[in-house]
Symmetry: C3
Subunit: 164 residues, 3 copies
């Protein structure tokens, strides 16, 4: 599977690192934004990410369905798996089958796909049951993606370690 | 000390990785479960872990006393240090002397012992004082174990980095 | 820039590791403490750190202004960037310009400076807006420092990985 998984904490520089992996391929490139601008804070965050990227990117908003945006010959950046998972859970979608469909779509592609995900499991156990479930699902999702990815990177302060 | 410490976030794949280190030794193997099934969520989690392991494992439940279950010639997996620490704190046991007893028991063994622990100190400082104390104690415990372990691994999405 | 950034979770052993990097240089050494002893818990933590350090250290308390304490020929340890950031935010100071002043002061030094910072972005997204802002600012600060540092280390259980 021509896929790289880039994991890291919040504001670790993982998106920027992932972008550099995609733009190392010939453009144009497709940026798949999974975040939903449901409030001003989120809108500001999305706009800031968008303005940081240069030209050559086509942005597709895909909060839930990742299969259609992957049907293209261009290198794709999916940013990020954890917001996608949030949307699935809020929609009460079946996470396991959505993950299977994502993996199938990734296997069908020949161009590079880079997936960005937040590490969310290295703090104290959350008191909130939904947060615990989210933390578990995120960890399992990243393990599944990592198993099939050809590279797995862990980013700290803008620098990446090769895990796989 | 013939001991490997495997650290990682929640659902990072650290238990599975630790199991593979133990089963690389000739069996049978002893699985020391420190988790207490105090509610349905915990019972489900324990059962899921148990069913993932294959045959050849003898499971011992040891929420507080880790010295007795280590008195055996088999390779042992202790899963996990952070649930053990939780139990010590809830019991109002002395953590420092329990840790010393654990280290002595580990030094007396010749077979491999693999210890799994949760990284819990990489989130925001918790508002709850008990959570802050737990976070501090977990960090200190892992530093003490790491100092004497012959290997220390950090697991992200199922892949392990050698720290020591 | 003759600067090393040491990142890690709470109680990961990052301060002790950073101290060993400083004391590998000829002394005396300057310890710049950014923590404010605003309650007993914090006072105990500061005293414990101070008593762990040996002789040869001159301690300077610098909760907000890091420029003056860096105007010296000695190797300096700044412990830590995340408490400094907390103080800036509580003071309603401009974080971006304070960071620029810090970077300028670091560039003017020829002796080694080691900066310790807490990784705070690898847990669940905090519900509290101020905590989210702090988490974002900490990540951005560490990325900026890392870009100019000659080494970036990530510490887990007392052992350090070279990120850069």
């Amino acid at each position: 599977m021509n896929c790289i998984l880039v994991l890291g904490g919040a504001r670790s520089g993982k998106s920027r690192h992932a972008e550099s992996l995609v733009t190392a391929e010939p453009g144009p490139w497709r940026y798949v934004a999974t975040g939903r601008a449901w409030d001003d804070e989120m809108r500001l965050r999305i706009d800031a990410h968008r303005s940081q990227r240069g030209t050559g990117w086509n942005t597709v908003e895909a909060p839930v369905d990742l299969v259609s945006p992957l049907q293209c010959p261009e290198p794709v950046l999916i940013d990020c798996t954890t917001l996608w998972l949030t949307n699935l859970i809020l929609n009460e979608d079946d996470v396991a089958s959505a993950t299977d469909r994502l993996l199938e779509a990734l296997f069908r592609r020949s161009a590079l796909t880079v997936l960005v995900g937040n590490e969310v499991g290295s703090g104290i156990v959350p008191e909130n049951a939904l947060a615990r479930r989210f933390r578990d699902e995120a960890g399992l999702l990243h393990q599944k993606l990592a198993r099939h990815a050809r590279r797995v990177l862990f980013v700290v302060a803008g620098y990446a370690l090769d895990m796989k």
